[in-house]
């Protein structure tokens, strides 16, 4: 990771962590579709912020630390059921740290 990353760089790392969570969670066969729908929806939202005006801005030290710790936290997860819970929780933590809105929702309303 760059010593002075932009917010977009941090969010790209978060998308990779979300992918890793989904890879773990999809080992629960009955939840394969749900896991991948979650992966897609939250990765799209993270990418939306990363590609927007905020994404090009340098991230402050507190934001770098927060998102780094969140990525580390999900890296500790070994249980696929807990990984599924975190597929939803992790992006919310990252978006909050980034100062971005959690929404809009999948049907376009503000979240």
């Amino acid at each position: 990771m760059d010593a002075n990353p932009t917010l977009g760089m941090l969010l790209e790392a978060a998308i990779a962590a979300e992918d890793a969570l989904a890879d773990l969670g999809e080992s629960i066969d009955a939840e394969w579709s749900y896991v991948n729908d979650l992966r897609q929806a939250w990765s799209d939202r993270l990418d939306e912020v990363a590609s927007g005006p905020q994404g090009a801005q340098p991230a402050g030290p507190a934001v770098v630390a927060a998102i780094g710790l969140a990525i580390d936290e999900v890296g500790r997860i070994a249980d696929p059921h807990r990984a599924i819970d975190w597929l939803s929780t992790f992006p919310q933590v990252v978006l909050l740290a980034a100062g971005a809105a959690i929404g809009p929702t999948s049907d376009g309303r503000a979240g």
């Binding site: 927060a66 500790r76 975190w86 909050l96 740290a97 959690i102």
Partner: protein
């Protein structure tokens, strides 16, 4: 249509002990006054692997940083402790949940969502009308096995709520039970509003709902972002 206490079977006795845990009441009270960011903190910590408080403080700089912004005001707009004090109290309670064993923490989290729902509803309905673990009986219809988590029993304005910790808890059984109750109530000309309360982001809940084949068009969703709507008159959620 009539309401009835659920049978005191083995499950009910065990679960009553969980519901009666003082930690459940403490966490629910704190979360009833929390901002959205503080509720996300609680969800993360109660789901988390780490139980080191300082890691979580650093993960939520908007709540614990030098200039907290996201948790500036109580969601209920009520006076009380400062935003930082409230965030610290939520972190402490959430860590206490996380430090329980995996099975117990799962039960405690569910009980917290139910208690939180009941406390928010009590801000707009008489306390005596808010009941827990109730069955709804209809003439000529076999009673459902599982009781409703929370009901509001006000004549002419009945409500039934099922409460879930995460979006993954939304399933066909829950949706059928809620919609069946609403339909049977309608048949008896008793208005019954039904809703599912989920301590998870609306985005995740919608994804889960859209994959269900059970009917849910008349079942309101109260996701984490809309919890405070439970405290206001009128239908809660979306």
């Amino acid at each position: 249509m009539r309401f009835q206490d659920a049978a005191r079977d083995g499950r009910a006795v065990v679960y009553a002990a969980i519901q009666g845990d003082p930690l459940v009441a403490r966490a629910a009270e704190l979360l009833s006054q929390a901002s959205q960011a503080e509720r996300i903190l609680a969800r993360a910590v109660m789901n988390g692997e780490s139980t080191e408080a300082d890691r979580w403080r650093r993960m939520f700089p908007t709540l614990f940083g030098p200039a907290p912004v996201a948790g500036e005001a109580s969601a209920a707009g009520e006076p009380g402790c400062s935003a930082l004090e409230r965030s610290e109290a939520i972190l402490t309670a959430s860590l206490a949940v996380a430090e329980r064993g995996e099975q117990v923490r799962s039960q405690v989290r569910g009980a917290i969502v139910e208690e939180l729902t009941a406390r928010l509803l009590a801000r707009r309905s008489p306390a005596a009308a808010i009941r827990r673990e109730r069955r709804i009986l209809f003439d000529g219809v076999p009673a459902e096995i599982h009781p409703y988590d929370v009901t509001v029993e006000v004549s002419g304005s009945f409500e039934a709520f099922d409460c879930k910790w995460g979006a993954r808890g939304i399933n066909a059984d829950v949706l059928y039970q809620l919609d069946d109750a609403r339909t049977h109530a309608f048949d008896e000309e008793e208005p019954l509003r039904v809703a599912i309360v989920v301590f998870d982001a609306e985005r995740s809940c919608r994804i889960r709902l859209e994959a269900q084949t059970a009917p849910y068009a008349q079942t309101r969703l109260v996701a984490l972002e809309q919890l405070d709507s439970l405290a206001r008159p009128g239908p809660a959620g979306q």
